[in-house]
Amino acid sequence: MSDTTRLIIVAVGGQGNLLASSVLGEAALLSGVPFRMSEIHGMAQRGGVVESAMVFGKAESSIISDGEADLLVGFEPVETLRALNKCNPETVVITNLTPLPPFTVAIGKGVYPPIETILGLIRGKVRKLITLDATALAREAGNILAVNMVLLGALAQSGILPLNVETIRKAIGAKTKPAFLEANLKAFDLGVRAAA
């Protein structure tokens, strides 16, 4: 299975996970790397969890079974932890640190664990945990909605995907509306630096 790389991205509806995966798809096309991906649409988008699976390299499947992700990127800490069933001891995990507590917490139907607890639970189990405050970095880049670009930067920097930083930058250019391009690239670069 070494000629394939499997990536899971989890986010809360509205965080821009689908744009992030389409940038990666574009980058794979530019680099001539075969890939397939799968997304969940529909009900999940009304504030629920949105998960996308990307398989790079020689494989026919477009979804990823439990324990088989090489890389997990979480846009929200509790969702990163929830998706840990997709990981194995060799997985690299990248997570945003800014929580978006689900509404169930507001109505007292559940407790949001402290960030340190979440990180502690992940850290010991996987090969590597990369953390960054993507929300703060997106703000710094001038577009609070660019959390997805910051995480793409960290992902590019991890070196696990068969795609390089320059190609992903180029793909962002192809997929971004001109008005947001500058802020998006800045956010991406901040992500690269934060994960270095």
Binding site: V12, G25, M43, V78, R82, T104
Partner: protein, 616 residues
């Protein structure tokens, strides 16, 4: 230009399965496309809708799937290539038309796409629509990947014309919503006008005609069998004495599993892409070359039963297994690891799966169920109905749409739901068989789809309930498609009519009709109360644009609200309304100004008047 209209054969493009399907149809010269929106098929229609504004393709959002199929049946019988798309349960609505259309047949190619939803990511059941092909006597094609889906659509049109029958094109969510690079082919010219050659003895299905048409259908089915035997969509790969028969996405999982298990040289795979009628000779030959066979298919044992019956006919007794407690399930979706495990177990291959993580130390995490959006007017209406009905014992039948989510806490509005349009007709039943008050909900699009007949029934039979029509001015759940009540000028589109729900309801003879603006809480509660007191059928129409749609057409409300100092922290807003813009910080209710759309509903229900517009 729309990206799917690009005439650039050989170019590669990253496409969603649904985009690839739309592109495949364009390459095949489709000239008419009809649909009722339903996930996972919606993006096919969205792309046709957009393209139809740039070229001579005719596209329409029809009132329901039966209407959509009937429109396409007529155009195809003028010799024009036509396509009709729907989600799996949509075919239940269209089934009445489909069964007899199979008798009548078509002239120009007609592809009927059914998008099945194993695991029910956004559906009320996981029915396997291959059985519809069998029931109607129609050919069924099933792609295994995004790339194949694009090419197969074109072949489906050819097949339909060769047989003069509609072809069922069956996908599953993982085809519709997967993405992969696709190589574009040339775009065939579109033939947008044909001619209807009258011949009542073939087209008017009175019994005398249908008796001969059934004979014709069976002949066509025999022809289909021959084509299935030689179809490149039914192929064998690999060699060895072990056999696997599979279809659709399972094919990919099987191929990955053989590679991972390193048994590619011991297993032959028969991939069935043309699955009704099953290629008997091809399957017999395959079985004869195997010692042992496993059938890998999601959903029902459609292939498995077919293969076993073919084996019986050929006098073959080798083991053929598929669905069994220790093998494949009839429930939910397959995944690559699960398929690999079943294959290894069945053929007795040693294999160690990747070490799973020990996750027992993870505390229960807060759930993140889907929720009505911040400022969604449905939430306001549900709240108001609940207030108006206070103290009454009420049953709340509901229907299919965003508002179905109203059954979740804290609103808890929604007691019974089986299908589109079911709220109006089940209300008739509930009001007859129980002394409880009945208040039912239906959306605008669903009302037009199939809610009207139930309401007609209610008026005629003098039932007793209140129907609340949640008119948010768009088909919201599936991604903001238009419906007959929508003001199309919002899309800057002309040439459409518009139907007033209130006028329809009045014309049906409903004696008590009121229109409320759900953002006006007190007035709405009063109007609903009056409707509830009415004996007989009453209708309340709650009119307020979907909050997401309002944002996208720049008609959003004003400033966000905030919780001020007067708040006494009893949390009526959170516990009774539950707008997702609320959150708790340092044990105080706050409003997230990035999410709040300023509908002011919470401000009206706060008894302390503590919620006020933010000062900019």
């Amino acid at each position: 230009m729309h990206k799917l209209l690009k005439d650039d054969p050989g170019a590669q493009m990253v496409l969603l399965g649904n985009e690839a399907i739309a592109r495949g149809a364009i390459e095949a010269g489709v000239a008419v496309a009809t649909t009722y929106p339903g996930t996972p098929s919606s993006e096919i229609s969205l792309n046709f809708f957009q393209m139809s504004q740039e070229c001579d393709l005719y596209f329409e959002y029809s009132t329901n799937e039966k209407v959509a199929l009937e429109v396409a049946a007529a155009t195809a019988n003028c010799g024009v290539r036509s396509m009709c798309m729907m989600k799996h349960v949509g075919l239940n609505v269209a089934a009445d038309a489909l069964m007899t259309l199979a008798y009548v047949g078509v002239k120009g190619g007609l592809v009927v796409l059914t998008a099945d939803d194993p695991f029910m990511f956004s559906s009320q059941n996981e029915q396997d629509n291959r059985y519809y092909g069998k029931l109607a006597g129609l050919p069924v094609l099933e792609p295994s990947s995004v790339e194949e889906a694009k090419d197969m659509v074109g072949k489906a049109f050819d097949l339909s014309e060769a047989l003069q029958e509609p072809v069922l094109f069956r996908t599953t969510t993982r085809i519709n919503h997967s993405t992969a690079p696709v190589t574009l082919g040339p775009i065939a010219p579109r033939k947008t006008k044909g001619y209807f050659q009258k011949n009542p003895m073939s087209y008017v299905t009175v019994p005398a005609v249908s008796r001969t048409l059934h004979v014709k259908l069976l002949k066509n089915l025999d022809k289909a069998l021959e084509l299935s035997e030689t179809s490149p969509f039914n192929f064998v790969t690999g060699k060895g004495k072990w056999g696997i028969v599979c279809n659709g996405v399972s094919y990919g999982y099987v191929m990955d599993a053989l590679k991972d298990l390193g048994i590619g040289d011991r297993v032959q795979v028969l991939r069935i892409g043309f699955s009704n009628p099953l290629p008997e000779k091809k399957i017999t030959a395959f079985l004869q070359s195997c010692d042992k066979v496993l059938v890998a298919e999601e959903g029902e044992p459609f292939l498995e039963e077919g293969v076993r019956s073919i084996a019986q006919g050929a006098g073959l007794t080798l083991p053929i297994r598929g669905k069994a407690p220790e093998l494949f399930s009839r429930l939910y979706e397959f995944d690559p690891g699960m398929v690999r495990k079943v294959i290894a177990g069945y053929f007795g291959i040693d294999y160690a799966p990747k070490a799973k993580l020990a996750l027992t130390d993870i505390p229960p995490l807060p759930q993140r169920p889907p929720n009505l959006c911040a400022g969604c007017s449905h939430r306001a209406t549900f709240y108001e109905v609940k207030q108006a009905a206070e103290g009454k014992d009420v049953v709340y039948p509901t229907d299919i749409g965003c508002y179905t989510l109203g059954f979740l806490p804290p609103l808890g509005m929604g007691d019974f739901l089986i299908c589109m349009g079911g709220s109006t007709s089940t209300s008739c039943g509930f009001s007859k068989a129980s002394d409880q008050k009945v208040v039912s909900f239906i959306g605008d699009s669903t009302f037009f789809h199939s809610g009207i007949p139930g309401l007609v029934n209610a008026v005629f039979n003098n039932h007793n309930f209140t129907l609340v029509i949640l008119d948010n001015g768009i088909t919201a759940m599936t991604g903001h498609q238009p419906n007959p009540g929508v003001d199309m000028s919002l899309f800057n589109l002309g040439g459409y009519g518009r139907i007033s729900i209130a006028e329809v309801v009045k014309a049906l003879g409903v004696q008590h009709v009121s229109v409320i603006k759900p953002y006006k809480v007190r007035k709405s509660i009063e109007a609903i109360r009056e409707a509830l007191d009415f004996k007989g059928v009453s209708v309340v129409i709650a009119e307020e644009m979907c909050a997401l749609f309002a944002k996208s057409v720049k008609k959003a409300k004003g400033k966000p609200f905030m919780v001020g100092d007067k708040c006494k922290n009893h949390r009526d807003c959170v516990n009774l309304l539950g707008c997702p813009a609320f959150y708790i910080e340092n044990d105080r209710v706050k409003i997230d100004s990035a999410i709040c759309v300023g509908c002011a509903v919470c401000a009206q229900i706060c008894p302390e008047n503590a919620i006020v517009p933010m000062k900019s």
